[in-house]
Subunit: 206 residues, 2 copies
DNA sequence: TACGTAAAAGACGCTTGCGTTTCTTATGAA
DNA sequence: TTCATAAGAAACGCAAGCGTCTTTTACGTA
């Protein structure tokens, strides 16, 4: 019998890191599409074109697989375009607007679908909640606070507005709209949120 | 053999509405304690001290049982003390503060635990989301808008602030803190939210 | 080229929970 | 007091999905 048998399948057999990456990517993709509730190890194996044994050899339980998939695949702030250094010709309002667009974009994307599902799952899983907050939420909170501090230095933000409470308003409103009201966040909405809520809150004049 | 046999059980056997109420109450209690994820019809039957058959005779599926339990048991705005008529000597700020306290209280209570679980489940169930929004969210949104309109009439709220967007800020921030950050909402937090966020947004001066 | 390792595939046992069914018996109406 | 109805209790079949185990076979190494 020659190599390419009946069905001519060129089944490359991966090992080690290559296989591991494929599994984590598949796990993340499954989370994005199906959500945590209908996430199955069998589904991951099928998508990664591997066997369950190869998965269980690496991660003893489903939970640990999910956790590592999240930790390795969740986008960092940098992935989302949130960078520490902003050009001097960008005002705080513009930077915030960009940030709002990014957060909204992430939440709405297929990638955000995973975040939404996971965030909800975290309601009843404190350990999961901790990982998400540590790896995902905290860096973003910090980026936003940094943005506000930069605004203070430029005289665009009143000093009293640099609080975690105010930094949470933007993500809170966006998340609330997208998750609980299932409303699309279009550019118009963002403009409204910026003008009617965020800018009045932080401007020195107000 | 006499009536009260060995174990002396006074097993009252309920029927009709009495049984129905007991089932719905049990379903709601199970939702509160265990969440939607680990909600089981068997658990409801056990808690209500009835059989699954008596449940399935009334509700063909688990989903419909949950839905009716929510619809009949969810507290109305009036249950929460949100009333349309507010005494004249209460300022808008005070009324809002009361409202914030109520929303926070509901979200944190065991009752709110059900809401949290259900809201999250609704992310992947549009029909459920619709019912929740219609029966729970909408009346509250309307109450808040009414409060803002009253404030405008009293000169305590600028007319431009009477928008659904601004009415959503309070629930959004409270929900975000409680659900996604698992942070307790104490009186101090409420004061901060009122002073730093809500009042600046609606005051005519700002 | 020969061989050991582990990858692919999937069967298997086990548990959970849905929704159905059966059987006994309390209850309320005639 | 008699009797139809439906309540209580529990067994059942079924499906899904976890985690284990077995078998075959491709790959890397010696």
């Amino acid at each position: 019998m020659s190599r390419g048998a009946v069905s001519e399948r060129v089944a490359q057999r991966r090992r080690g890191a290559a296989l591991e990456d494929a599994i984590l990517e598949s796990a993340y993709a499954e989370l994005s599409e199906a959500g945590y509730a209908s996430f199955t190890v069998e589904g991951v194996a099928a998508r990664a074109k591997t066997g369950k044994a190869s998965i269980y050899r690496r991660w003893p339980t489903k939970q640990l697989l999910v956790l590592e998939a999240l930790i390795t695949q969740l986008p960092t702030p940098a992935d989302c375009g949130i960078v520490p250094d902003i050009p001097d010709d960008v005002t705080t309002a513009e930077a915030l607007h960009d940030l709002a667009r990014l957060i909204g974009g992430v939440l709405v994307s297929p990638l955000g679908a995973a975040m939404r599902a996971i965030k909800c799952e975290a309601v009843s899983d404190p350990e999961l909640a901790r990982v998400i907050d540590e790896r995902f939420q905290a860096p973003r909170r910090e980026a936003l606070m940094g943005l506000l501090r930069r605004g203070v230095a430029r005289g665009e933000v009143r000093p009293g507005a640099v609080t975690p409470l105010i930094a949470d308003v933007l993500p809170a409103v966006l998340t609330h709209r997208i998750i609980f009201q299932s409303e699309p966040v279009i550019e118009e909405t963002l403009v409204e949120i910026m003008n009617d809520i965020l800018l009045p809150l932080i401007s020195p004049r107000a």
